[in-house]
């Protein structure tokens, strides 16, 4: 992990029991691999759970966007527990409520609706990431 060259940490929830957890994971990959690979870094939640120093340092040093698949908001809570700041928390269910036609199904393998919902989540995160990066690069940024 090289947090010094990444601007925004993306932390998906790791949810394994429901389709929204898979959407969260897929959206995180889309942002960090396809849409904004140079300005984002994926952080594995299991490392934060175990208190891995490198992962904790990453979320402490950079703004984090969390993606949660259910109301228990594990990703947001773990970033806060790790001493990091959640710049923006995304709830997959909220994005789904705004895009009712994208009904996700499947956990091991998402259906088309799930992939499209993940894309919608990723697009929302991209806007947030661009805003955070612009703020970090602004001349008056401390």
């Amino acid at each position: 992990m090289s947090p010094e060259v990444r601007k925004v940490m993306v932390v998906p929830c790791s949810g394994i029991g429901k389709t929204y957890g898979t959407v969260s994971r897929e959206a995180a990959y889309e942002v960090t691999e396809d849409l904004r690979p140079r300005s984002t870094q994926l952080v594995a939640l299991s490392l934060l759970v175990l208190g891995d120093e490198e992962a904790r340092a990453a979320v402490r040093a950079h703004p984090a966007v969390t993606i949660d698949g259910c109301k228990l908001t594990c990703a947001a809570k773990m970033v806060q527990e790790s001493g990091g700041q959640v710049a923006q928390g995304i709830a997959v269910l909220d994005v789904y409520r705004r895009n009712r036609e994208l009904k996700p199904q499947g956990i091991a393998e998402l259906n088309e609706g799930g992939h499209l919902l993940a894309h919608a989540v990723a697009e929302e995160i991209t806007v947030i990431v661009d805003d955070l990066v612009a703020r970090e690069e602004a001349p008056d940024h401390a």
Binding site: M1, P12, C13, S14, G15, I16, G17, K18, G21, R25, E26, A28, Y29, E33, L42, V43, A44, L45, S46, L47, L48, V49, L50, D52, C70, L72, T73, C74, A75, K77, M78, E81, I107, A108
Partner: protein
């Protein structure tokens, strides 16, 4: 009347998003939960040990648990032991890949062929461990099998089980001066009272037998547990009688 879950095995996968092996753990866990041993397994999201409540943290005390890790950091095994209870068994994907001479899994987002093979091998190993655990009596306290016992009967309608929204109720009781959290005790009391069982020596013995299904009762402490259960069940029934 409440239904106590039948004895099942809990599977905790690291799901590490950064590594292909993390994706292998996730997919292997799901294969066991959905296809290989659907009626005999249940899972929980690893972060709930910290982000959830006491009922979530009781998971590995309630279910004998298999920790499924992608790498030798062993986040799932270590976090489960740290926050919930000692896993009954652990599987590390990188070890299995080496043992079976598989190719390197690649593609955390989309696994390559070696990654898919690793999913198969890992899922089969976990299914075998599930059978071993259900075929023996696992002591959560000592972290080993204590004696042979009949295998649990699978449920009639298998389905993948997620414990996220069904935290296990825990009641802390005084056992010989020690505050001991007892998983599922509220459900057990409710079930016994619903069955018309009143406090008494024989019923207390039955209570202890049921408590032992879901909790590790250390050897030599039956007497202390019987006293605690007798007292707590009498108090529970009295409360219910006062406020039905």
């Amino acid at each position: 009347m409440p239904e106590l879950p039948q004895r099942k095995v809990g599977i905790v996968a690291c799901s590490g998003e950064e590594l292909a092996e993390g994706t292998v753990t996730r997919l292997a866990a799901l294969r066991v939960l959905e296809h290989l041993r659907p009626g005999e397994t249940v899972t929980i999201c690893l972060p709930l040990f910290l982000a959830g409540g006491e009922g979530d943290r009781a998971f590995a005390r309630f279910y004998p648990t298999i920790a499924l890790d992608g790498c030798d950091k062993r986040c799932a095994a270590r976090a489960t032991e740290l926050y919930s209870g000692k896993p009954a068994a652990g599987v590390v994907v990188t070890d299995l890949v080496r043992e079976h001479g598989l190719g390197q899994p690649e593609g955390a987002r989309r696994l390559n062929a070696s990654g898919q093979q690793a999913v198969e091998v890992t899922a089969n190993r976990v299914a075998g461990l599930v059978d071993e655990i259900l075929g023996g009596q696992w002591s959560r306290h000592s972290g080993s099998f204590v004696e042979a016992a009949p295998a649990a009967t699978p449920e009639a309608a298998p389905q993948a089980g997620c414990a996220c929204a069904s935290a296990i109720p825990v009641q802390t009781v005084d056992v010989d001066g020690q505050a001991v959290p007892v998983a599922a005790l509220p459900l057990i009391f409710e079930q016994f009272r619903g069955a018309g069982k009143a406090p008494g020596a024989e019923v207390t013995k039955e209570l202890l037998a049921t408590v032992k299904i879901y909790n590790d009762v250390p050897a030599g402490t039956d007497g202390a547990y019987l006293a605690a259960l007798a007292r707590e069940f009498a108090a529970y029934c009295a409360r219910k009688q006062a406020r039905p």
